[in-house]
């Protein structure tokens, strides 16, 4: 290693003039986020088995629901294509079961979080980069399930390109919300077990929705609970992309997903501030 040449180093002028400088220089938030996202995606690609396991349950539910209720739904309930009716549920299910906090909590427990925190990178990039990495996984799950649906005969009533892109966009927005919950728990607790348990919240949130039947066929307390659950509107918007685009339904879905994601991202921001203060 040769000694740093004069003039090499921080170009932002923050290092006082006349001092020998290091090679470190501000990289910028975008560069930091790109670097951390790249590392998160590399980690996902290095463990394809986790990717496959995450798809097993959504595919299982998808197939079982179609097998159990498909004929009844189509003949008795007037649902023209029950596979298409269930496909968005499987995609949202896969997006909700991703755990963006898992990689982060392993970094915290293993000391790599500290290593990254010792760099001059924007600390928020450590969280946002992980979140973007997780969205890469959500995109992967969604594409696999869309192709699977296509292979078993699901077709879009609307333009398939617009329908697919809309569904993917909604799923990503919804996925940010769920990944943020997991990341917030990881940052707040630093506990691997607690972070892995966050998937439990998606049971009430996703099953108290018109996941199996249209809302108009529901009655009593269940119908009330479903109507109060913001995820209901996400599910209905996701279906709308397959069964003919309805602007109002889709707008409500995006609004619900955005509100959910804003709320959970705010929790993540609070947990992040606490983690940074704690050291």
């Amino acid at each position: 290693m040769s000694a740093a040449a004069p003039g090499i180093g921080s170009a932002d002028g923050r290092v006082p003039a006349g001092e020998p400088q290091t090679l470190a220089a501000p990289a910028g938030l975008i560069s930091d986020v790109v670097a951390i996202t790249g590392r998160a995606i590399r980690g996902i690609l290095r463990e394809p088995e986790l990717f496959i396991f995450a798809l097993i349950i959504p595919v299982f539910f998808f197939v079982v629901q179609i097998g159990a209720l498909g004929k009844v739904a189509e003949q008795q309930l007037g649902i023209s294509d029950y596979a298409a009716f269930q496909l968005p549920i499987s995609i949202l299910f896969a997006a909700a079961s991703t755990s963006g906090g898992n990689a982060l909590v392993l970094d915290i427990a293993g000391g790599y979080w500290d290593k990254l925190s010792l760099t001059p990178a924007h600390r928020s990039s450590l969280v946002v980069g992980n979140l973007f990495g997780e969205m890469f996984a959500v995109l992967g799950y969604s594409l696999v399930l869309l192709v699977f649906g296509f292979l078993i005969g699901v077709r879009f009533d609307s333009n398939p390109v617009i329908g697919s892109l809309g569904l993917l966009a909604l799923t990503l927005l919804f996925g940010i919300g769920f990944a943020s919950v997991s990341i917030a728990v990881a940052l707040a607790t630093g506990s691997v077990r607690a972070t892995q348990s966050t998937f439990i919240i998606f049971f009430p949130l996703l099953f108290l929705t018109p996941s199996a039947l249209p809302r108009q066929l529901m009655t009593g307390w269940f119908e009330k609970a479903v109507s109060l659950n913001p995820m209901t509107y996400v599910v209905e918007a996701a279906r709308s992309f397959l069964f003919g685009i309805n602007g109002t339904v889709i707008a409500k879905g995006f609004l619900a997903a955005a509100l959910f994601s804003c709320l959970t991202f705010a929790l993540t921001a609070l947990a992040f501030r606490r983690r940074v203060r704690m050291g």
Partner: protein, 341 residues
């Protein structure tokens, strides 16, 4: 300007006061050894000075920059290898170094050259494209050291860099630390549990115990503070009472000068001036009293002795737990581990 300065640092964790008013100053280009047993507060002070932890009170500066008010500037100036080498096992060594470099704002050819350079420096060229999960503990430490050097920091914090390493890996890390100072004039803040390591590497040493610095100075000056030679005496357990009585009598009669007598695992250690002269007096006196004894040796004091005097022997207890290094004494009778009395 000092490379590192701490003024009255205090850090509490709830009821526990881990750091209790630590002040220190490290000159540029100095290797500063920070010595203490587990739980003494070493790592907490490193975390404060490296911006990972805020002090409850007091201040810390690196090259004149406040560690709490200007953390980003401080992070650009320092390199840190923490006690637990936190590395992402799924990445290769090269990927980890490249990511680290990007976060320090390095790019293009400079980044590529630095990765090659630090990899060569720590002797990991052949393994750098392997996943880190396949690295041994020593290799991980060296990779961690390489990542701390990527941006040519002016101040390097090494938190117990050799704890748990085999002698070969430890020697390699020591060589690299010396090289860093000699070639680049880097300031190095080195925490260690190993007295031998501090003695070998540090220009100055601070001994920390229960969150306070209890001694500070060059290793030679600290040893000189003891002001005596060290006589180690091995006696069988049933003879320890008789041996103590005989030595006390020799001191009372003035045949042996007054000096501290400390129990050890194998017998006693006696601190007296003019050791070579007085070892003969001791042997004759023990013979006369009919005390059966084993090996007897005289040596100059080591940092181990300084440490024992300063802390009341907590490090010695750690030695016996196998958590710690070894105070060096030449010659040393076999199995003469010290025990605080």
């Amino acid at each position: 300007m000092s490379a590192i300065q701490a003024a009255d640092l205090v850090r509490r964790f709830g009821e526990v006061e881990a750091v209790r008013g630590v002040s220190l100053e490290v000159a540029e280009g100095e290797i500063y050894g920070f010595l203490g047993p587990n739980g003494a507060g070493k790592s907490t002070i490193v975390r404060i000075l490296t911006t990972l932890l805020q002090p409850t009170s007091g201040s810390g500066h690196v090259l004149g920059h406040d560690v709490t008010r200007e953390p980003t500037t401080v992070r650009r100036l320092i390199g840190v290898a923490l006690q637990e080498a936190g590395l992402d096992p799924k990445q290769t060594g090269r990927e980890l170094l490249t990511l680290q470099g990007k976060l320090y704002g390095l790019k293009g050819k400079v980044l590529g050259d630095q990765v090659v350079e630090v990899t060569e420096l720590v002797g990991l060229t052949d393994a750098i494209d392997r996943r880190i999960q396949t690295f041994s503990g020593g290799m991980k430490r060296r990779l961690d050291l390489a990542s701390a050097l990527l941006h040519r920091p002016r101040v390097l914090f090494l938190d117990e860099p050799t704890t748990g390493l085999d002698p070969l890996s430890r020697a390699l890390i020591w060589d690299r630390i010396r090289e860093l100072r000699e070639r680049f004039g880097a300031t190095i803040f080195l925490t260690t549990q190993y007295l031998e390591e501090a003695d070998e590497l540090a220009d100055r040493v601070a001994i920390i115990d229960h969150g306070r610095i209890v001694r500070q100075g060059t290793p030679a000056a600290l040893k000189a503070e003891i002001g005596a030679d060290v006589i180690d005496l091995a006696v069988e357990e049933r003879e320890t009472g008789a041996a103590r009585e005989a030595i006390t009598e020799l001191q009372a009669s003035g045949e042996l000068p007054q000096g501290e007598l400390r129990g050890t695992r194998d017998g006693y250690t006696l601190f007296v001036p003019d050791g070579p002269q007085n070892i003969a007096v001791l042997i004759r006196g023990l013979d006369r009293a009919g005390v059966r004894f084993g090996a007897v040796s005289v040596s100059r004091p080591t940092l181990d002795d300084v440490f024992l005097a300063a802390t009341g022997g907590r490090m010695a207890a750690a030695h016996e737990d196998g958590q710690d290094g070894d105070g060096q004494r030449e010659p040393e009778p076999a199995g003469s581990g010290r025990r605080a009395s």
